[in-house]
């Protein structure tokens, strides 16, 4: 599945609901990250020339989803970068994560800042072999 085509948004009164889908749990996380950064900028314009890596430990897959998104936001702020490509691997409770992007510059669209991924409408489910990871992000 092409991750670019596998994210979507759902309605929320004040903020924005995001969903990422994939054939694996990890791919659904990656697709949701694309959805989140597409709120922040036009990700088609972001060159994935720099890589950020981080790991975290979380046994609960729903909390892991939130941690993944919030770690990305944190890394994005710390490096003043915006990301367009993502990679997740899982070894039991350990999540090994990579994000690719570039530093903010005047050629990138300034979209809307995402303050954090919330537990509202949080779900990570597998239906008919397709994983779907969803939550509302606070903007």
């Amino acid at each position: 599945m092409d991750e670019i085509q596998n994210y979507s948004y759902f309605e929320h009164g004040a903020d924005i609901g995001i969903t990422g889908k994939g054939k694996t749990l990890e791919k659904s996380f990656e697709a949701a990250a694309v959805a989140m950064f597409a709120i922040i900028t036009d990700i088609s314009k972001v060159n994935p020339v720099k890589r950020i890596k981080f790991n975290f430990t979380e046994p609960d897959i729903e909390f892991a989803f939130i941690s993944w998104l919030n770690n990305l936001l944190n890394e994005s702020h710390l490096s003043n970068m915006v990301f367009s490509r993502f990679h997740v691997e899982r070894d039991k409770d350990i999540w090994m994560c990579e994000a690719f992007g570039e530093s903010w510059h005047s050629g990138l669209e300034r979209g809307t800042e995402v303050k954090g991924a919330t537990l509202t409408k949080l779900s990570v489910i597998n239906e008919n072999g397709i994983w779907a990871a969803s939550c509302v992000v606070d903007v």
């Binding site: 004040a14 903010w104 809307t112």
Partner: protein, 486 residues
């Protein structure tokens, strides 16, 4: 919202009656009223999303609630708490503190400045002023400030709030008098703030942020109460400035760090969460104490940030109006949990009052108010949305028993951001507002479209309902002249 379960107990106050047979939410009997109150007129209430009712009922079920959980007239669907939700919990009865009840944008609020300039003074220079403000105030996603901090300086900000800013030349001691909690809250514990949160803030002090944040130059257009307006120092055609922003990256990261911590703590303490976003822990627990220390540190960061932005605003104005006097009217916070004394059933209690998208609204003679506001109550600011204007109100004596001294904070969204993006383009919104004489400056056309004036409720109706519910009294209406949009 379907009003079938609502009982109108006053013209602008509504209860919700339990319908489920044999109990249900709250374990009450059919026909019993739930411990919730909605303050709104019928139109505002009907326009609220069903989720507001669901969320405020969830809030009312958390341990240690005192009195009622309240929805303000601008309430809309949030995460965990509704935006415009108020609830107070008693630590002596197992009361909780909820990260979801405060939100990510801790102490997001409005600093309102009054000037000695008039509309006539500003109009010839409006374009030049908007350029200067746009240059001086870092705004929008990815924008970094010009103020960089080391670890010790950040720790000092977390402890001393706006006082740090004035000690470094950002504003005056007079500003401090007119900030809630005199510019800093007690109970901040920088050691409870993660290294990530601190690192995020190093280049975000003195920045406006994004989303619904703004800096707006406004004109006093209509006075509702001449006496109080006189005390506040406001008159028709006067220019005021409103700065809407919060604790930036540090606050966002504190919210993030504690969300899962408190969700797990709730399970540990046997608290049944109807919505996991209500992540909470008993106030007297270790986790509750940790969050309180970190959240108070974030509140102080927000107070300092708005103080720094105040000075950056003055610097921009002074380039065109070197003799202009720009003074702080008041600084209010929206997303907080504060320890406050309130009288419940004749007994004074120390309660932890969550205000999520709601403004504190202390009435006349409250002991914490500066002398200037002793007889009027504190200024309450209801922010609008670019084209729609804002209101200054004054806290009432009655709001103490009606809402733990709380009132509306803004117009409140009427539709989702996705819906707004389908209806408007940023450039079109800017051009339409220009036709009305309002200058919008923003780096984000998407942000402008999401924040289009008609994406919000009618701010006039919200302010009127707030007054009719006796939460705060209208003092004056402000119309926008220049808006720097985050």
């Amino acid at each position: 919202m379907n009003l079938e379960n609502f009982i109108q107990i006053e013209p602008n106050c509504w209860a919700v009656r339990l319908k489920e047979e044999g109990g249900g939410l709250g374990g009450g009997k059919e026909g019993a009223n739930l411990p919730v109150r909605f303050y709104a007129d019928k139109e505002l209430l009907a326009a609220m999303d069903e989720k507001v009712k669901e969320q405020i009922i969830n809030v009312s079920q958390l341990p240690g609630l005192k009195g009622y959980a309240f929805a303000m007239p601008d309430a809309h669907w949030g995460y965990g708490f509704p935006i415009g939700g108020v609830a107070a919990y008693d630590p002596e009865e197992g009361g909780i503190i909820s990260a979801g009840g405060v939100g990510f944008d801790i102490s997001c609020g409005i600093r309102c400045l009054k000037t000695d300039l008039t509309v006539e003074d500003i109009f010839p220079y409006a374009k030049e002023l908007s350029d200067l403000l746009f240059r001086n105030i870092p705004a929008g996603v990815g924008a970094e400030g010009n103020i960089t901090l080391n670890e010790a300086e950040l720790d000092e900000i977390m402890l001393n709030g706006a006082h740090y800013a004035t000690s470094k030349g950002y504003g005056t001691k007079e500003d401090i008098l007119y900030i809630e909690d005199s510019g800093k809250v007690s109970g901040a514990d920088p050691s409870m703030v993660s290294i990530s949160a601190k690192r995020r803030q190093k280049s975000e002090m003195g920045t406006l942020g994004s989303g619904n944040h703004y800096l707006e130059v406004q004109a006093v257009k209509q006075i509702f109460d001449e006496n109080i307006a006189g005390v506040f120092g406001l008159k028709e055609k006067q220019i005021v400035i409103s700065i809407h922003c919060g604790s930036r990256g540090l606050g966002h990261q504190v919210g993030t760090d504690y969300l899962i911590t408190l969700a797990k703590a709730a399970a540990k303490y046997g608290i049944n969460l109807p919505d996991r976003e209500l992540a909470c822990a008993p106030i007297k627990s270790v986790e509750g104490g940790m969050y309180l220390g970190a959240m108070n540190a974030a509140i102080n960061v927000a107070l300092c940030n708005r103080q720094m932005l105040t000075q950056l605003t003055r610097d921009a104005f002074e380039k065109i109006f070197p003799k202009a006097a720009i003074k702080t009217l008041f600084d209010v916070s929206h997303n907080t949990c504060k320890a406050e004394k309130h009288t419940v059933n004749g007994k004074e209690l120390l309660l932890y009052v969550h205000r999520k998208g709601a403004t504190r609204a202390f009435g006349p003679f409250h002991p914490s108010l500066p002398d200037l506001f002793k007889e009027t109550g504190q200024p309450v600011i209801i922010g609008g949305s670019m084209g729609t204007g804002s209101y200054v109100l004054a806290g009432t004596k009655e709001s103490e028993e009606r809402s733990f001294s709380s009132a509306s904070h803004g117009a409140g969204r009427a539709m989702s951001r996705n819906q707004a993006l389908k209806l408007w383009k940023g450039r079109e919104v800017i051009d339409e507002l220009k036709e009305k004489g309002i200058i919008i400056r923003s780096r984000s056309m998407r942000g402008v479209a999401e924040e289009a004036p008609d994406a919000y409720k009618n701010v006039d109706a919200v302010a009127e309902a707030t007054e009719k519910a006796r939460l705060a009294k209208r003092v004056c209406y402000l119309s926008p002249v220049i808006c720097i949009k985050g």
